[in-house]
Symmetry: C2
């Protein structure tokens, strides 16, 4: 008869201790394969525990398959020879101490950082707190697949007031970031479409589209945005554009070019334009050009925007507006995907927008960025860099291009940047087939990421990199 | 000479009013295509406004392409004939009033609702408030692609303490819900794999995998979980399993079957098991079987779990643990995707776990669910339903099966359910090739979704549906 000792001071219930002991004995072979176990009653008497304790342990062992019952014979150990010949996975030195690839840059222009020190956290937090006080059952309910109704209404109103867009909340889909929505959209648009993209342009979209089996055609961008006659020739059915502030040049597509685009859209079956309105909030000397969506052929335009730049980057909320035809298809094929944004943050954002705080903050940041941008631009112009450099900008967005005359190759400039603690972003990286700059290097400067106190340090470092 | 009137009480700046007026005149044809505009100076004098006002309006019109300059000649209207022949999108009756497909069920067993009235919102909200007080610059930084380091550490510790798993935080990826992580994983596992899935089983995974080009092989589940010899024959390279509480039967895979599975995993190159540990927190009379990951061949097991059931459903946080080999591949190919969960909620959850509140809440809910489940079960047994029904359960999870002897077809039962305000979930719907029940209907009853006060109403409705 086996015998076990119990630790009466343990947190572990008695049945669990008994279960663990018998289990180890079976695994170790101390109880042999197919050996008969004592009856529940006799084991209980023997160990001075209740019958319930032994029953619970035996039931667990049986449920997990360590023992079996045979009718009118009792309990037997299963044959688990070889079960726990543990082959442990290869280990690494724990990355915990290293805190991973946390590179310590002075400034990282590749990361999409923005200044959040001016964000009205006090107001935001008030809405968060008020949301917390809501009836908890609201948070227990699954969200609609397309996002909180209140937030979609707030967005529809905002698009009407600020962007001249006539949108029904039923056309809006909320998601955890634009990349996520692009994935959903690319699946929605069906098998292996041919997609035209801006060259140079925002390449994340392209990577996502290609990873989902679509074919990409880069179409050149000139000083009026995408070349629509090249688009026509490309054979693409769908085009991805940022007509209101092209990334990274800031170029705005003028009406004449928009007219060509509308003709192209109406000229073929199932042609669509994905209009990325990202960063369009930050036009500085007027209210920004209205989106394509506001102007024409809304049933061919998929509008995308995000709160990443205007609220704060670690709040993952973006949205898209679908034409009704695509919205119906989305409901049919993708509404089983749960919404990816937490209810609480959707409620808070809805109130932040509805009570005018969002628009107020965007206006405030627009003024701030305009002044700060002027400050960065004149600091650059007044530096040694200024004499050898040209600034390319279109009064829009949170970045500009800085073209520096230099003998350095891009690779050499990047290496020197790293040595100085700067992760530089190069204009030429946004071209699909490379772009060889001769005797100059053009940087994409996301000035929103430069803390004011780091501006002099940045300029010194740029001067050292480009040898003044 | 054109003439314009200004509204001095308008919020709109003068230059914007002037811009709007000239723009409309160009679009309407009142200013003809290629017509010369007055010089800035003469217009300013004429309208009694400053030169700056006219300059700003002209600059905007020019930037957007409504007018052009010709050297030494001045400003001219562009030819935009046809531009604003607006073809408005087809409209629908606004869905706003209708509040969309908000069906008003008495109880919806298809929605994944859980009881949140017992969630300690006071504690959770405290962590949220403390997170709000953090240095705002933290919220301005982009998150690591795999999630907040602090949260990954908290999860690794929790998995070690509660699930016997030895996991490095560097192997964990945080995402906005399991569906999202499944998408990432399916892309990671490469081109068109053959995937074995449990039949019956959790079909969302299958839909996601198929939508990303993988081939599915349903493999039968018996009272020990998936049939591993059928898995061997299926030719699959990857298997998706819930061995610790099969959905929807609750079956636990016993050690003997696990042993076969480990042999299968070691028997071929690049074989992987996706272990979905969903709902395993709710085992009622013991601490639940340890996951496969804790036992063996960790380098072949991808572990998935979610906080949806244990915190609250509208908090969208799930995670997966990857073997190092797959983690390296993930970093190479998918780390450009931003993390989909907001920093604030990740911080709050990390603290909730680290300070023991999460484990305390899970234990509390385990006790609550055990008692509530017993209450639901005995209410059913004592009802008229009880005489014609069998309850199938494995002391696990937040649901059980209720097999009711009836002459009703599934379709008829579903229709009667709808009439009674019940969205019923049928066991047969979880089979890949249908499952014809004869003289009975088996319901999947997610009892966690039944508010206590609705229990008598539910039983009355079930009695009416099945004709007592």
């Amino acid at each position: 008869m086996v015998s076990y000792f119990f630790d009466e001071n343990s947190d572990m219930p008695l049945y669990e201790q008994l279960y663990q002991d018998i289990r180890s004995d079976i695994i170790s072979g101390k109880i042999r394969p197919n050996q008969k176990l004592p009856s529940k009653r006799s084991l209980a008497e023997n160990l001075h525990v209740s019958l319930n304790t032994v029953s619970a342990a035996y039931d667990t062992l049986k449920a997990e398959g360590y023992i079996r019952t045979e009718e009118r014979k009792g309990y037997f150990a299963e044959d688990l020879t070889g079960y726990l010949v543990k082959k442990p996975a290869k280990k690494r030195d724990s990355q915990r101490a290293q805190n991973e690839e946390n590179e310590d840059w002075y400034l990282d222009f590749k990361a999409n950082a923005v200044s959040v020190s001016l964000f009205p956290f006090n107001i935001w937090n008030r809405y968060q707190r008020e949301t917390m006080l809501m009836d908890p059952s609201v948070l227990g309910r699954p969200l609609p697949y397309n996002g909180l109704f209140e937030l979609r209404c707030a967005i529809a109103d905002m698009l009407r007031d600020n962007r001249g867009m006539d949108v029904d909340p039923g056309q809006i889909i909320i998601g955890a970031g634009s990349e996520y929505l692009y994935m959903r959209l690319m699946q929605l648009l069906g098998e292996s479409s041919v997609l035209a993209v801006e060259d140079p342009g925002y390449q994340k979209f392209s990577i996502i589209a290609e990873s989902l089996g679509h074919t990409l055609v880069p179409v050149p961008v000139d000083d009026k945005g995408m070349d629509v006659s090249a688009l026509e020739k490309s054979g693409a059915r769908i085009v991805h554009l940022s007509p209101n502030a092209h990334f990274p040049t800031g170029v705005i597509m003028p009406v004449s070019r928009r007219l060509e685009l509308f003709w192209w859209l109406s000229g073929g079956k199932d042609r669509y334009c994905i209009e990325d309105d990202y960063d369009s909030e930050f036009r500085f000397w007027n209210r920004g050009m209205l989106p394509l969506y506001a102007e024409n052929v809304q049933d061919r335009i998929i509008y995308m925007n995000t709160f990443t730049k205007t609220v704060y980057p670690s709040l993952r909320i973006s949205y898209m507006v679908l034409p009704w035809k695509l919205m119906d298809r989305f409901r049919m094929t993708q509404s089983f995907y749960s919404c990816t944004v937490s209810t609480m943050e959707q409620y808070s954002l809805a109130r932040f927008i509805k009570e005018g705080k969002y628009e107020y903050h965007v206006q405030f940041m627009r003024n701030y960025y305009r002044k700060y941008r002027d400050k960065v631009l004149s600091a650059l112009k007044d530096s040694k860099i200024g004499k050898k450099a040209e600034i390319i900008e279109h009064n829009a967005g949170t970045h500009f291009l800085l073209r520096i005359r230099t003998g350095l190759s891009k690779e050499e400039a990047a290496r020197r940047g790293r040595d100085e603690g700067l992760a530089l972003s190069f204009f030429s990286d946004y071209f699909y087939h490379g772009y060889n700059e001769k005797e100059c290097c053009t940087l994409v400067l996301n000035y929103a990421a430069i803390e004011e106190k780091k501006l002099p340090g940045l300029i010194e470092r740029l001067e050292r990199i480009f040898e003044y």
